[in-house]
Amino acid sequence: MFQNLSWSQAIVDPTVQAGTLAVVGVFTTRVGMRGFPKIRFAGQVFFFVALTVLLLYHGIVPYQEEPQASEAFERIFIALAKIIWWIYAASALVGFVRVYLRFEGQPREGRLVQDLVVGLIYLGATLSVVAYVLGVPVGTLIATSGVFAIILGLAMQSTLSDVFSGIALNLGRPYSIGDWIVLNDKIEGRVVETNWRSTHLLNSTNDLVVLPNSFLAKVGLTNLSSPDRSHGVSLEVEVAPTTMPSMISAVMTSVLLNSTKSLPEPPPTVQIKGITATALELELSFRVRDISEVPAAKNELYDLLYRHLRAAGLVLAGAEAAQSTPGDRIETTTQRKKTPLSPLNAVPLFSSLTDEEKEILARSMKRRSFKKDEHIIEQGDTASSLTIVRAGAVSRHAAGRNEGDGSRTVGSW
């Protein structure tokens, strides 16, 4: 067949044309357009159309079974051309899926679904090749393959259940990458990866926890990062009931006001949970920006709590408070408030002063009070006196700064 083939004949020969087109197509789309999925998809579509036109021009219909059996070489060539055509069709579809099939704009979560669709496309292409190129009836093949499917299903039972749970979890999206989740059995961590078989969490001790999807689908979980990143924190405090509960809760409110970590919105709350002879139980609730800020916020709040309680002459509920009668306690607290030395004792700055020195200072101390929204110190002033905040909350505003950052509650008692 090739002996007396001239150049002009070679060019019009369908074998050469289709072969050249297929090779050029593969090189340009696979190598030349690597990293540009959209351009690559356009290229794939272009070559697919070109190949279709070429094959149809030569009278080869790739999606039909070849009616007449011709020469062996020609049969092989036609089969090859058809297989190439089907591969092109499949890869063009896959390119489309990879570029445009996204779920809610998040390609990473949609990856599993993409993989599934791609798998289906390749399966379809393979079956088409079997049916139209090799001429094997697909219907009977599928019927017999049921037996294999059962065997395969039994062998891969656990894997398959993971896969299908993974699909369900991906569609349901109870969590996404970066969320902090807590499982009912106390496993918790930040989601770093979800894939076919498992979900990977990074826990607080920086260890990777791998959870099979089938397991995750069964247990209940709490997503701490949903609906937004802010996280609620609550602290239980027990204070000796030495004064009116409303006064104690006012002290707690000022504690919360002074926390730099708690969010202003929604406003932090103080709730009185109960009162007994020995303790007033309060619950302080507030929100922080992110769950990672919880420890710092709690530490700060306990520190503020301690300082505010001391300043207000309150004590935490405990053995000591239980022993003394409330009457005694009130007396001692009022005494404490009267001695002007107590604020000096509570200032860490003056911790190096001796008692006599503190007394000298305390005698010269002047008491001043400010109404709400009054300016205590103006920006740029050189203070000639040191101000110790006895009660109330103060905010700091720096001009030329973002209000949100510049305004901070800096101190109180």
């Binding site: 700060e300 000298i360 000639s384």
Partner: protein, 93 residues
């Protein structure tokens, strides 16, 4: 207990921010003139104060306002400033 205007009080620098009362506020004020005799009596006090002050400033960085500290303010220089401000006779360090 929180103190305000530490920086201005101890080193004569203008306040970096306006302080506004959020609620009704009661404060105690200590004049420079009342601390001066203490410092003159015990010179070591200036160093102790400077040390605590610089620690508080470091701590305050994260807690409050970044604008309130000046960079490169070491303890010895703070001591010198406190001493000069409160007219404490300078000793050889």
């Amino acid at each position: 207990m929180n103190t305000l205007a530490r920086q201005g009080f101890f080193s004569g620098v203008g306040e970096a921010a306006t302080l506004r009362a959020l609620t009704a506020v009661v404060v105690y004020e200590i004049d420079q003139s009342s601390l001066a005799p203490l410092l003159q009596e015990r010179a070591a006090l200036a160093e102790e104060l400077a040390l605590t002050l610089s620690h508080r400033v470091e701590y305050g960085l994260s807690l409050t306002n970044r604008g309130m500290t000046q960079k490169g303010k070491s303890v010895p220089s703070l001591v010198a400033r406190i001493k000069s401000l409160f007219e404490v006779p300078q000793s050889e360090l």
